[in-house]
């Protein structure tokens, strides 16, 4: 009995030593070298490291495109097994951006009301990050460019309500031709506009392939 008590005492001592060690070694932000912190949020960094486009203003976009929503949940749909079908429907060689899609399912209470997907595309003057809101029926609810490096005149054309607003109602099977199905843009904005149109169409096709069932029927999982 005495022996067992001594052992328990020893064990408690070891745990106490470990606790003291943890307390002494845990980080103290004030001791770090004072440098400018230029990093983005942890979530944004993780997405960028994984090659995915971050979602930079979740609350703003959610309220903008789905005003009645109360929250969202994320799901990563891997499409590597559907590459042949994806390539056939996109009609172009696949890129690293086409391997997976992170779906932010928008909820009103516990009920899904739509989805928001972000995507990086190769603009003329730098990366362009787009946000596409899609309804339960697979139609575009709205679009926004959350990051771009284009000159002011090009940026104004690409962000104009008339141009981005033309995305509304489009589906994965719609035609996305610039100048016909979508209004034309100035020549300087043409290549970036083409990249955005391809990005939007790609998102819809990937959503359709990643989720053949309507978004509302999906199980609520992270």
């Amino acid at each position: 009995m005495r022996t067992r008590s001594l052992f328990l005492l020893g064990l408690v001592g070891l745990l106490a030593a470990a606790g003291i060690g943890w307390a002494l070694l845990r980080p103290h932000s004030g001791e770090d070298l004072p440098t400018v912190d230029v990093s983005a949020s942890e979530f944004t960094q993780k997405d960028e490291q994984a090659g995915l486009c971050p979602w930079r203003d979740p609350e703003g976009d959610r309220k903008r495109f789905f005003p009645a929503s109360s929250g969202y949940e994320d799901e990563l749909a891997a499409l590597s097994s559907q590459r042949p079908e994806l390539q056939r429907r996109l009609g172009r060689p696949l890129t690293g951006e086409d391997n997976a899609v992170r779906i932010h399912r928008i909820l009103a209470g516990q009920t899904p009301v739509g989805a928001i997907v972000t995507r990086r595309v190769r603009g003329e003057s730098g990366v362009i990050e787009m946000v596409l809101a899609v309804g339960l029926d697979g139609r575009v609810v709205g679009a926004r460019l959350q990051r771009l490096r284009e000159p002011d005149s090009v940026a104004a054309a690409l962000q104009s309500p008339a141009w981005l607003g033309a995305f509304r109602g489009k589906t994965a099977d719609s035609a996305w031709r610039s100048g016909q199905d979508i209004p034309n843009v100035p020549a300087a904005a043409h290549s970036s506009a083409e990249a955005i149109l391809d990005g939007a169409h790609s998102i819809l096709v990937m959503l359709a392939l990643g989720h053949p069932a309507p978004i509302a029927d999906l199980p609520h999982t992270h």
Partner: protein, 386 residues
């Protein structure tokens, strides 16, 4: 004797197991600590030497903060006159001096900041790890930009593409992309020095002058001379290395204290185990003595048990250090300034031997008294107790 010792240890498996665990934990912590100390010093030394920069001229202020910012590719508030480069180049001990102008363009709505660095050809000998990707070339005109690997990936740029800076209204052609180096250079945008000075309205100003010496042993004399540069101060990398090692030394002392505490607790645990074992086996030891075992043989039996406990515990502790060491390293790296990108955990044969000897030493010390007491038991008294 070894078989007898083995049977005695397995007779109380839980007790033996807990004692082993205690010794293993203590030896594991000690091994990680020693391996980390050696690895950090070696890694930091290699990293700083590999930089090619042996000294820096930075604006007046906290020299270590300034040097750390420059090394990490971050901006400084103050600046130096461009004449500081010529003063440095004229010094007889300086092999090459390279001007640098760093500026940050925050993009809060996008959660990132573009870091632009103005450089000229003189920087190349000071960045020996730079490798340009195929098709890349050095600046051909004022509107050329060389991108770090991470910056190029983030902006989806390739050699020949256009890169626009909306904040300054400048359009660049990507003339080169650096191979990934694991340094802060990966996320920077490099432009010609004059371009950077024009972009950020800093004509004739610099944020640092990076210097390499002809002979590193002349560093102190050169530092004294360069210290006379108006508005500037000198930071040698030896000083930085010393400062960082001092910081790490303080942490190391704390961890060493914990390791010693853990070792002391494990020694007490072994002592307790062996003493309990002697008390429980008084009669058995008496019989051993009665059938002819000498005091020395009884002493050796208990000593072997104690040594076996700590030897096995030490071996388990070293195995633990190898397996869990990487996790410990990741945790420690978060608290260490300018942590080397390479592994900081160097579990060499020497370190393992040191820990093994300490572990066995703990067994010897902790097992001595119980073994001595067992050897002193008079056979008749021991048998009476039974």
């Amino acid at each position: 004797m070894f078989i007898l010792a083995y049977h005695n240890l397995v007779r109380r498996r839980l007790r033996t197991g807990l004692t082993l665990l205690g010794v293993a934990a203590a030896v594991g912590v000690l091994a990680c600590l020693l391996a980390f100390g050696q690895g950090y010093q070696r890694g930091l030394g290699q990293e700083l030497n590999g930089m090619g920069i042996q000294m820096m001229l930075v604006p007046l202020g906290c020299p270590y903060d300034a040097a750390a910012r420059v090394l990490k590719g971050r901006t400084l508030d103050a600046s130096l006159p461009e004449s500081a480069v010529n003063l440095a180049r004229r010094d007889s001990a300086v092999a090459c001096a390279a001007p640098m102008l760093m500026a940050a363009l925050p993009r809060p709505s996008e959660g990132r900041t573009d870091l632009w660095v103005g450089i000229d050809e003189a920087i190349r000998p000071l960045k020996p790890w730079w490798r340009l990707k195929a098709g890349s070339q050095w600046f051909s005109d004022a509107n050329s930009v060389i991108l770090g690997a991470e910056a190029a990936a983030t902006e989806m740029r390739q050699v020949g593409d256009t890169l626009y800076s909306p904040e300054t209204g400048r359009r660049f052609r990507v003339c080169g992309i650096l191979e990934r180096s694991g340094t802060s250079d990966d996320s920077l945008f490099f432009v010609p020095l004059a371009t950077a000075q024009a972009m950020f309205h800093q004509p004739g100003r610099l944020t640092a002058v990076a210097i390499r010496l002809k002979d590193p042993t002349l560093g102190e004399e050169a530092a004294t001379r360069l210290q006379q540069t108006p508005g500037a101060q000198v930071v040698t990398l030896a000083e930085m290395l010393g400062t960082f090692l001092n910081l790490v030394g303080a942490v190391r002392t704390l961890v060493l204290a914990i390791a010693i505490l853990a070792l002391a607790i494990s020694a007490l645990s072994v002592f307790n185990t062996m003493l309990s074992s002697v008390l429980e086996r008084t009669g058995e030891l008496g019989i051993l003595r009665a059938i002819g075992a000498s005091r020395g043989q009884v002493f050796r039996l208990l000593a072997v048990e104690s040594m076996a406990l700590t030897t096995l515990g030490s071996a388990a502790g070293l195995a633990l250090a190898v397996v869990a060491g990487r996790l410990v390293e990741q945790a420690i790296k978060a608290y260490v300034p300018l942590a080397p990108t390479e592994s900081m955990l160097t579990l060499t044969g020497g370190v393992a031997l040191q820990c093994f000897i300490v572990g066995i030493g703990v067994g010897l010390v902790a097992g001595f008294y119980p073994a001595w007491q067992a050897s002193r038991l008079p056979p008749a008294q021991a048998l009476r107790a039974e």
